[in-house]
């Protein structure tokens, strides 16, 4: 089993809980984490649920997609459409702070996130 330094893999939900090509919010150790099931690419991502623009707990309800030549995966905040890279957390269309991202792995239909 692969391990990340100083990170624990916490089970957060079942794969069926997160809609295909969409997101859901999980409560992890008292924090709100947005989990994204990028079914079109067979990938999973996780970020903080808080959009830094207006400090709203919302990103899990945002639309996901990709941008640019490299098809960088991103999520758009439903409020004012700030978009953030799902890889780096960097804001792609404005001057907001980057958001926290978490590693994700799926095993036996359970979604785990790497918690530092």
């Amino acid at each position: 089993m692969e391990t990340l330094t100083a990170a624990t893999w916490l089970p957060v939900c079942q794969t069926a809980d997160v809609p295909a090509d969409g997101g859901a919010c999980a409560l992890v150790e008292g924090e709100q984490v947005a989990i994204f099931n990028f079914a079109r690419r067979g990938e999973w991502y996780a970020t903080q649920n808080l959009c830094p623009h207006k400090q709203q707990m919302i990103l899990a309800r945002g639309m996901i997609g990709s941008t640019g030549e490299a098809c960088e995966p991103k999520v758009a905040c439903p409020y004012h459409k700030r978009t953030f890279s799902l890889l780096t957390g960097e804001c792609l269309n404005a001057d907001e702070c980057a958001i926290q991202t978490y590693p994700v792995r799926v095993e036996n239909d359970t979604v785990y996130i790497g918690w530092a």
Partner: protein, 834 residues
């Protein structure tokens, strides 16, 4: 701690300019240690938008950057610790806390304080200044009990303060100015008069040529006494009579200061000690104190360049400015005052709508020298560029303020004629050349991308329209064919894609992307394709909920703070007493704020996402159905009471409104649609302000289309007159389907008509005369949509799988979002400000 070996730059003052200096230095170099001292307990905040603090913004909203930013960037920040002494011999600063900090370079960004004139009585309770967040808190607390208040000073800041008094609900608000007119330093006398008239119309009382001799009252202000013997009784006074540079530290350190204050600096922003710089409102350059933020930012840029042996210098600053004062546009540029014989002026004045424009042109008529705009400052950016770049004037310079009349004017051409060095974004010092280069070299073809590249438009935002024109102009000049495509994932317009999906019987977003798109989609094409699929097949949208905008995904309107509002349909605005009681009971049970909307129905706000299915289960049991207030679809058909009750009513407008609303309810369109039916020409339902509206006539009904309220109001135009109901519905069917098929994403009917080649005559030909031979198709297509109507909420309430999606935490469905907070107003809850 700061790493050793790098030179240390100490910044005294953590205001806007001090902050900007840090930001600019970090962007250019990591070769310095940065140490910042701030006297206030807070990190730097945006003083320019201070009045928004009264409009509901919090102190945190106004921060230039959160405290964490300083930490993340390795800046050592000492807040609430004022520097008390600069020891130039040992190159150290001494703070009140006892801290001694060595420096290699020192930057004074100490700013200014409010200038308080030496009038007897200024120490009395109820006399305040307008400068910091703490001042604002004090004003706010005092205004709560004040019935009347005055502002001393009719300049820019004074009028801002007056707005604050109005915002705080001080009923009787006055402005007192020593000069014979408002804003004497920025605008001319006629402009002042126009501004005064507009402000007085808004309820401000303005007193000019008043010298305040003393402030009366026992310990607490009760009146202002003027030199001419007159008295103004007020409960509070806000002094905003100018600024005074904070130069006391510099003076103490033996640096050269001006006679009337200000730290003397040269073009490199160096003080009389070459390792000490001064920037912002504390700096005196060429005998001038610059009380605006843009020149302060420019000074910061100069110091950053100097620290890196650059050659950038400060050579004065154009004080042109454009602002909105209490809702009135005010702008001045170049030399607003220059008069005969050094210039000729062209003046346009419209007292009725409160617009005043003056431009000063050179005596030979070749160049623009300056001017003033009151009430309408749309032309400001272009006029300023015309002055700054000495552009040759057109043969009829009056066109600059009146618009070209008669001939064809090509918008945007003017922007491209600017020289490359023209400064477009003065907040961030971005030139036309930099913007065009970012388009051609870096592929920045949107305003967002441009902001990322060079920060253009991120300051006050005033230049954004010009940035947009420059991007499009550059693309056109490159010969790029600006095709109207959805986004980077679909190389088709909405209309093209509509036809493709129909012909190929595509019913899901995934299939559309596989067949006609690239990549993984985005927040632009997903809802646009969702709208097309609904316009074709009208299937249940929550079956593809992850391509919908959040309102359509949760079948409710998201509001500030993450709660949703709920709006059942009340066709035509008709509601029974039983239904009203049911709404009241349900709103009370789920603690919802209720309000009557502009569309004649009741909106219930503040619902938790997990309560939505339960609320709707109860509403449906009471006979309600979804109101589609969340969708890009028909909202309501507003009606007047019509012939059933009204003594003027010609026909039964309520019944017809209900029939129309039920016919088209739930159909998705490129944007929302509103409608109305009036029972006579008095037009109580305001049908001519709607996407489609109906007005009763002696002989039948008139049908109007493509009207709009909103930001750009536009009257609907008559499509056909004196119709019977059947014909009217037939035309309406064709009109709506034609719009649904051909409009761009998020394009309302009014804009659609404005862009339609041939306009109303063409539309009439298509819908009435069937000039394209498509009317039978249009009618068949829309009847399929009408036939497929379903109450979306009923489908969800009855389907456990769909219900499950309405939770905040997927792993704790019972837990509501704990960060959601509400406040209270007039006995009901409201969302907490952000």
């Amino acid at each position: 701690m700061a790493p050793q070996g790098k030179p240390t730059v100490v910044v005294i003052g953590n205001g806007m300019v001090g902050y900007k200096f840090c930001e600019k230095l970090l962007a250019k170099s990591t070769a310095f240690n940065l140490v910042v001292f701030g006297e206030e307990p807070r990190v730097a905040y945006d003083r320019v938008h201070l009045s928004e603090y009264f409009g509901g913004k919090t102190a945190d909203d106004l921060l230039m950057a959160p405290r964490q930013w300083y930490h993340d960037n390795g800046i050592v920040l000492h807040l609430g610790d004022a520097v008390q002494e600069i020891d130039r011999a040992s190159r150290t600063v001494h703070a009140r806390s006892g801290l001694v900090q060595p420096y290699d370079y020192l930057v004074l960004a100490t700013g200014s304080s409010a200038f308080v004139p030496d009038v007897p009585g200024v120490e009395k309770q109820g006399v305040m200044v307008y400068r910091t967040i703490e001042d604002l808190d004090e004003i706010k607390a005092y205004a709560a009990t004040a019935r009347s208040g005055a502002v001393l000073g009719g300049g820019l800041l004074g009028l801002e303060a007056a707005k604050a008094l109005l915002d705080l609900g001080v009923a009787d608000a006055h402005v007192v100015e020593f000069a014979p007119r408002l804003m004497p330093r920025q605008i001319d006398a006629a402009g002042s008069a126009m501004l005064q008239a507009k402000l007085e119309a808004l309820g401000l009382k303005i007193h000019l040529s008043k010298a305040t001799s003393h402030i009366g009252g026992e310990g607490k202000i009760d009146a202002l006494h003027f030199g001419d013997g007159s008295i103004l009784e007020v409960d509070m006074l806000v002094i905003s009579a100018g600024i005074r540079p904070r130069d006391e530290l510099a003076k103490l350190a033996g640096l050269e200061v001006g006679m009337r204050g200000g730290i003397v600096v040269n073009d490199e922003m160096r003080t009389s000690d070459p390792s000490i710089f001064a920037i912002g409102e504390c700096a005196l350059h060429g005998g001038m104190i610059y009380g605006l933020v843009a020149p302060g930012y420019d000074m910061a840029e100069v110091v950053v360049s100097q620290l890196q042996q650059g050659a950038r210098a400060f050579t004065g600053y154009d004080m042109s400015s454009k602002l909105k004062l209490i809702g009135v546009d005010v702008a001045s540029f170049g030399d607003p005052f220059i008069a005969e014989p050094h210039s000729r002026s062209i003046v346009f004045e419209d007292a009725h709508s409160g617009v005043y424009k003056r431009i000063n042109i050179s005596p030979d008529g070749k160049y623009l020298l300056g001017g003033v705009l009151i009430g309408d400052a749309e032309a400001y950016n272009m006029l300023l560029q015309t002055v700054n770049n000495k552009l040759a004037l057109p043969p009829h310079p009056e066109d600059l303020i009146l618009g070209a009349r008669g001939g064809e004017a090509s918008e945007g051409a003017g922007v491209m004629s600017l020289p490359n060095e023209a400064l477009v974004c003065s907040c961030e010092a971005v030139t036309k050349g930099m913007i065009c280069d970012a388009v051609t070299g870096l592929g920045a073809t949107s305003v967002d991308a441009m902001k990322k590249c060079n920060k253009a438009g991120t300051g006050c935002g005033g230049c954004v329209p010009m940035v947009k024109d420059l991007i499009n102009g550059t693309l056109t000049a490159q010969g790029a064919y600006i095709k109207n495509v959805l986004c980077e994932h679909f190389d088709y317009s909405r209309q093209e894609l509509f036809d493709l999906l129909k012909i190929n019987d595509i019913r899901t977003y995934g299939a559309a992307l596989d067949h006609f798109g690239t990549g993984d989609g985005c927040e632009v094409c997903k809802p646009a394709v969702g709208s097309i699929l609904s316009g074709l097949w009208n299937e249940l949208i929550v079956k593809q909920n992850t391509i919908q905008d959040t309102n359509d995904r949760y079948l409710a309107n998201i509001q500030k703070g993450g709660s949703y509002s709920v709006m059942p349909r009340m066709a035509g605005g008709e509601v029974s007493p039983q239904q009203l009681m049911a709404i009241g009971r349900i709103a009370e049970k789920y603690q919802l704020y209720t309000k009557i909307t502009g569309g004649q129905r009741i909106d219930m706000f503040g619902a938790h996402v997990s309560d939505l299915p339960n609320i709707w289960e109860e509403l449906i049991a009471e006979g309600f159905e979804s109101g589609h207030a969340y969708g890009k679809s028909l909202r309501t058909v507003k009606s007047c009471v019509g012939s059933t009750w009204c003594r003027y009513g010609l026909h039964d407008s309520v019944s017809f409104a209900i029939e129309i609303e039920n016919r088209y309810k739930g159909i998705r369109s490129p944007h929302k649609m509103k409608s109305g039916v009036s029972g006579c020409v008095r037009e109580c339902a305001e049908a001519q302000a709607k996407d489609f509206g109906v007005i009763a006539t002696e002989k039948g009904w008139n049908l109007y289309v493509c009207g709009n309220g909103g930001a750009k109001p536009q009257h609907a135009q008559l499509l056909a007159a004196d119709l019977d109901k059947e014909t009217l519905l037939k035309y309406l069917d064709r009109f709506l389907m034609f719009y649904i098929k051909t409009a761009d994403p998020l394009m309302r009917t009014a804009t659609w008509l404005n862009k339609l080649d041939g306009g109303m005559a063409y539309l009439r030909n298509v819908v009435i005369n069937d000039s394209l031979g498509i009317c039978a198709d249009l009618e068949a297509e829309i009847s399929l949509l009408i036939k497929n109507y379903h109450c979306e909420w009923k489908e969800v309430v009855e389907n456990p799988e769909l219900r499950k999606q309405f939770t905040h935490f997927v792993n704790a469905p019972q837990v509501k979002d704990p960060t959601m907070e509400f406040a209270e107003m007039r006995g009901q809850k409201i969302s907490k400000a952000w």
